[in-house]
Amino acid sequence: MTQSNLLASIANELRGIGHRMIERTWRLGVGARLFALAIIYSGESFKRFHLTLREIYFTGVMSLLIIVVSAFFVGMVLALQGYNTLQKYGSSEAIGVLVALALVRELGPVVTALLFAGRAGTAITAEIGLMKATEQLSAMEMMAVNPIARVIAPRFWAGVISMPILASIFSMVGILGGYLVAVPLIGVDDGAFWSQMQANVDFRLDIVNGLIKSFVFGVACTMIALFEGFDAPPTAEGVSRATTRTVVISSLTVLALDFVLTSFMMVV
């Protein structure tokens, strides 16, 4: 009797795991379909390009302040910490290389994507979730306006275009922040700072790879934000949960993707 009870409870647990697994896979499929639809209807949405420009303004231009300020501080703290270790080995001139490589290869794309998910991704999810809750999307369909072409695709392309631009600005401002700490504050030689940087940062291997990374993060973050908003239950609680999930899933996806991309880009 107790044995069959035990078996039943184990079977129940397994059923729960299976159910969750199927649900996740199903959601992934719905997300992939939304992604495909966004690509398919982007031609239609580009006919009204001012919609995309408007979204670039809200996701990209409005994120500029947080990106610039945090890049500046990240660069400054990198220079300070790097100097601390490098001067032990008598090579404090290499501080420029350290700051530039860390920013261009990793921190620029990754921190920008994390900030973007928090600043713009949440806004996209909340906006689309509320549009759905107030039945604006259904109203569009009633008026024979395709909500994918009108709402989803412009936001998708805005995110994808904004992210590499924001990441480049992040890297450049971060390097300027590092310069400010290293040269006037610590007293590293100005010429050595830039010349060592130029000798060790490769355009193709470091800068272009950083751009590719930020482009991939742009696709991932924007798509996650759009899907969570589109898929949110049309209630206040549902939208709030979807917004939280956007940040969590985007952050984890960015960090995992970063590892995968880096391991592919590494030249052995």
Partner: protein, 183 residues
Amino acid sequence: MDRTTIDLWVGIFVALGFAALLGLAMKVGNLTSSKIGPTYSVTAAFENVGSLKPNAPVKSAGVVVGRVESIVFNSADYEAVVTIKIDKRYAFPADTFANIYTAGLLGEQYVGLEAGGDEVVLKNGDKIAKTQDAIVLEKMISQFLFSKASETDAKSEAKATAPSAVTNELKGGKSTEIGDVAF
């Protein structure tokens, strides 16, 4: 918000992005510094290239005159064939010496060219005959230890044979032998 204002801001945003990218490429990256004009390539065979890598600098008198293009192993004579590209502006005599040096104590390795005195200059596809391999630290240390060991051997041998030489002399042997034995 007004559409023209949004357009303006997006334009500024995109321009800023391009400016940052340009700054990264020009000021931070090596797009300007690695640019060398038209080149000609020559090859050089080394028995050991150490940790020389493609795209390593080729220097003459400390000035970068070219880059290493490729390094391949030649199984016919078990040598590494290094192809280097040299800027067309610089001509080198045919008997130029190619060495593999290390920048600093632990730095990267580069090819150093030392000009010879030949009238004929190197052309595209030529081979540099005179090369010197990279220094392998273990080899150098073992050579040093070996020479030290043989030195001490020679000394102790000399000590061991010296008394017998003296006794030989005392016995009336040929005195010229002493000079041969001493070292």
